[in-house]
């Protein structure tokens, strides 16, 4: 079976404030410049190396693990997964 890397990005849901992202935006990026940037959201990235039949199976398996073990807190966070063959 081939190996894949599934990258999971965990970030706060849109309605949940993100003081880290806000600080990077207001106190760094927007300091007198870059006025075209309107928002920054911070997050955590976890990269899972996994052996599976195909890309979809790899992604589904990692998302299942994330749900079962509460790798992210569904109350306040959302996850997005991307997968690549390694």
């Amino acid at each position: 079976m081939p190996d894949f890397q599934v990258s999971i990005v965990i970030e706060n849901k849109p309605g949940i404030s993100d003081p880290e992202g806000d600080t990077i935006l207001n106190d760094l990026v927007l300091k007198g410049k870059n006025k075209n940037i309107s928002k920054i959201r911070s997050g955590t990235i976890l990269k899972f190396s996994i052996t599976e039949n195909d890309e979809n199976a790899a992604k589904d398996e990692v998302l299942k693990i994330c749900d079962e073990l509460r790798i992210y807190n569904p109350l306040v966070s959302k996850v997005t997964a991307t997968v690549e063959k390694i």
Partner: protein, 226 residues
């Protein structure tokens, strides 16, 4: 009677808690390592503060999967009083024993300071000796102490009288300035501030009596001393 103090890798308030329970309030307390089982004859459980698993991933989430938590859940279902302080509170929300979640403080700072709590529910096993709206001077020491629930859950918490403590002033961005909550049965209580650091005159220059009433409430609830 026996109070179980749960110890996780990274707990660092366990000895303070044990000292206060045994030396100050004459309770019979015993440490339990998180990989062990809890005996069924435990009368109360305390999850102390600290940095279990170094706060990896999210404060409390890894400890919430510890083997001993399933025993804590069983005891909680039976109505045994359970108190989580600071990291213990974070573990209780991550294990689903309490509603809500604790996010990074609004300031993003680790906050270590004295604050005032207001008692909002004096019917729990840990607040029954306190007066409603009584003020408690008490220290906080956390980086992830901003309590959050959505509006619907907040409404339920208010309706069910599950908000146990609130901060007198805006401290860290917590919803409704919530500092502590309980489950719907009222026997599981979590709070971010540290009563074990405030219940003795020697270490509380303001007033140690309100914090000591938290432990006296437990004594009142579990009855006899050792």
């Amino acid at each position: 009677m026996k109070v179980g103090v749960i110890v996780f890798p990274g707990s660092n308030c366990d000895r303070d808690m044990h000292h206060v329970l045994t030396d100050v309030f004459d309770l019979n307390a015993e440490f339990f390592w998180h990989e062990k089982n809890l005996p069924e004859n435990i009368d109360a459980v305390v999850l102390p503060g600290g940095f279990s698993y170094g706060d990896r991933l999210r404060a409390g989430v890894i400890a919430a999967h510890s083997p001993i938590i399933s025993d804590v859940k069983k005891l909680a279902e039976k109505g045994i009083p359970v108190l989580g302080v600071c990291n213990g509170f974070q573990i209780l929300v991550e294990s689903g024993l309490l509603p809500g979640v604790l996010l990074k403080n609004e300031s993003l700072n680790f906050m270590c300071e004295w604050t005032n709590l207001i008692v909002k529910n004096n019917k729990t096993p840990f607040t029954n000796k306190l007066e409603l709206n009584q003020k408690i001077p008490i220290p906080i020491a956390n980086g992830e102490g901003r309590y959050f629930v959505d509006d619907k859950t907040l409404e339920q918490l208010e309706k069910n009288n599950q908000i146990v403590f609130s901060y007198e002033n805006k401290v860290n961005g917590s919803v409704s300035q919530i500092a502590g909550v309980c489950n719907s049965d009222g026997n599981v209580v979590g709070m971010m501030p540290h009563p074990e650091r405030a219940a003795e005159k020697e270490i509380n220059q303001i007033d140690h009596k309100p914090s000591s009433l938290i432990f006296e409430s437990l004594v009142e609830t579990v009855g006899m001393k050792k």
